[in-house]
């Protein structure tokens, strides 16, 4: 049964001088524990989809169901990770992590213990009382991950969370995130423009068109790749095959060939 369903979702951005259609007729469903990736050029509305799923924005048409409940009525916690960590610089790491429970009014010694455990799991236990500016980019993004996981979200939305990191840190973090999500059996939607990252991490890849954002094609990641860590996926013989397929698909939609299509 589908865990998250988007049914003919369309979204417009209105301004004084008119409107832009950011999304058109997006329909997709994600099973529980599944990891999907939305892959496409910038400006194809990937982040808009995440904002709608998170309930921060309301789509202009269509419906979004999480466990068969409209997203706005749902009380399920949602985990949202952005390109940057957006840790609050005036709070210590542990206080940053506990901001979610504070808002849900579920602050308890047990929650703090769980937070420390999670921090330990991502290798940040020793800096729990430090301020974010004392940490490196990779450490900060790990802290941000713990901040979302502490609320036990039913679904995780990752908005290019690795794009601001250097390559080595990014690969390491991919492995960590992937392992954590498998352990806790989280349903995840990843937005990215990195083909390799999409293949390495997800089970299914949705290729998106821009102007207006819509789903162009869906790729299934081969089963052999799904159970490997992202680092090992990149060395798997089948990796290059699917990479080439997606590359070709995206290349045909590249902006420089768009003019020819329009005529």
């Amino acid at each position: 049964m589908s865990f998250l369903t988007l049914d003919h979702v369309t979204h417009h951005y209105f301004s004084k001088n008119g409107y832009t259609k950011a999304l058109e007729d997006i329909s997709l469903s994600v099973g529980e524990g599944e990891f999907i990736a939305l892959l496409g050029p910038s400006g194809c509305g990937k982040s808009t989809i995440l904002s709608i799923i998170a309930g921060i924005m309301k789509q202009t048409k269509g419906s979004v169901l999480l466990q068969n409940e409209a997203i706005t009525d749902s009380e399920l916690p949602i985990g949202y990770m952005l390109q940057q960590d957006y840790l609050f610089p005036w709070k210590t790491i542990i206080d940053n992590v506990l901001i979610g429970p504070k808002i849900y009014k579920k602050e308890a010694p047990a929650v703090k213990e769980k937070a420390l455990e999670l921090l330990d799991e991502v290798g940040l236990a020793h800096v729990s009382d430090a301020y974010p500016d004392a940490l490196s980019g990779g450490m900060r993004q790990r802290a941000a991950l713990v901040r979302t996981l502490i609320n036990d979200p039913k679904i995780l939305l990752l908005d290019e969370p690795f794009s601001a990191l250097d390559y080595q840190t990014k690969l390491k973090l991919e492995d960590l995130v992937s392992q954590l999500l498998k352990t806790y059996y989280k349903t995840t939607v990843l937005v990215t423009h990195d083909i390799g990252e999409a293949i390495a991490m997800s089970d299914r890849i949705f290729i998106m068109n821009a102007d207006p954002g819509s789903i162009a094609k869906v790729f299934e990641v081969p089963v052999e790749l799904r159970n490997e860590t992202p680092f090992l996926v990149r060395r798997h013989p089948k990796y290059q095959i699917i990479f080439d397929k997606i590359w070709k698909e995206l290349d045909e939609r590249a902006p420089d060939s768009e003019g020819a299509e329009a005529t």
Partner: protein, 268 residues
């Protein structure tokens, strides 16, 4: 051997810093001394009219005399009290109004033209009306000290609220935070440095408001002494009040600066 030469270079660097500091301070002192000496000489030899421009020795005499009989303490106290209160009320009210504007986009749109008018308005021109409304006393003068800084505080703090990175709110909203929670957890703390820097501006403004208020109505305070000295043509009194205002305004500014450094250190 190598460590020794490193240490040596470091010592040389420290010495050059010390030397630079000594040069700056000696220039600063020289300017001060030259100014007072020239003033004294110019007054003594009638290059300037001593009746109008007084002289450092006369100003000194007035200060000693007035502090000795205790009357100056009262004046200083009154003015400091009014300025401090005006400054606090103006700043806090400004931050509260800015928060109200932030809480409702519609309210802020409605208030926009009124804020523009009130900001453009020279606040001291409201003096007579405030005195009529609040009576000739402390309250009017404190109100002057406050009103002169409240609108500018509102505008500066409100625009700082709006410049907070919306992604901080996005993070909190994904946890289901209400608008008030977003304000308390993200917007307000993120704006603290901006608020503190308005404090520095407000200190100066409150002095203006209070001195003008004392010009208009009062029987005590440094502003009153200036106006009184002017009316009885006692310019030594005017000058000594001015000197005290300069000293206390500078002290207040320095305190706020220290407070700023402390708050920034402990809030971020």
């Amino acid at each position: 051997m190598k460590a020794k030469s490193d240490q040596h270079l470091f010592e040389a660097y420290k010495n050059s810093l010390k030397r630079e500091k000594r040069i700056v301070i000696s220039w600063q002192l020289s300017i001060l001394i030259i100014f007072f000496v020239l003033w004294e000489i110019a007054s003594k030899f009638y290059w300037i009219d001593p009746l109008l421009f007084s002289s450092p020795s006369r100003v000194g005499n007035v200060l000693v005399e007035k502090f000795a009989d205790g009357s100056m303490f009262t004046h200083v106290q009154v003015t400091l009290f009014e300025t401090l209160l005006g400054f606090l009320i103006g700043t806090i009210a400004g931050i509260l109004i800015a928060s109200a504007l932030w809480s409702s986009a519609r309210f802020s749109k409605i208030m926009d033209p009124y804020l523009v008018i009130m900001n453009a308005m020279p606040k001291v021109a409201l003096g007579p009306i405030i005195i009529v409304a609040l009576g000739p006393g402390y309250i009017s003068i404190i109100a002057m000290g406050a009103i002169i800084s409240v609108i500018i505080t509102t505008l500066v703090v409100y625009s700082a609220f709006n410049e907070v990175d919306p992604n901080y709110e996005k993070v909190l909203k994904s946890f289901g935070a209400t608008r008030w929670q977003c304000f308390k957890e993200a917007v307000f703390p993120a704006t603290l440095p901006a608020m503190i820097s308005t404090l520095k501006v407000n200190v100066g403004l409150s002095w203006v408001g209070v001195i003008v208020g004392e010009f208009l109505v009062s029987k005590q305070g440094l502003g009153y002494l200036i106006i009184y000295g002017f009316q009885v043509f006692d310019f030594s009194l005017v000058m000594s009040s001015l000197a005290l205002i300069a000293i206390f305004a500078a002290i207040m500014y320095k305190i706020v600066e220290k407070l700023e450094a402390w708050l920034i250190k402990h809030s971020t």
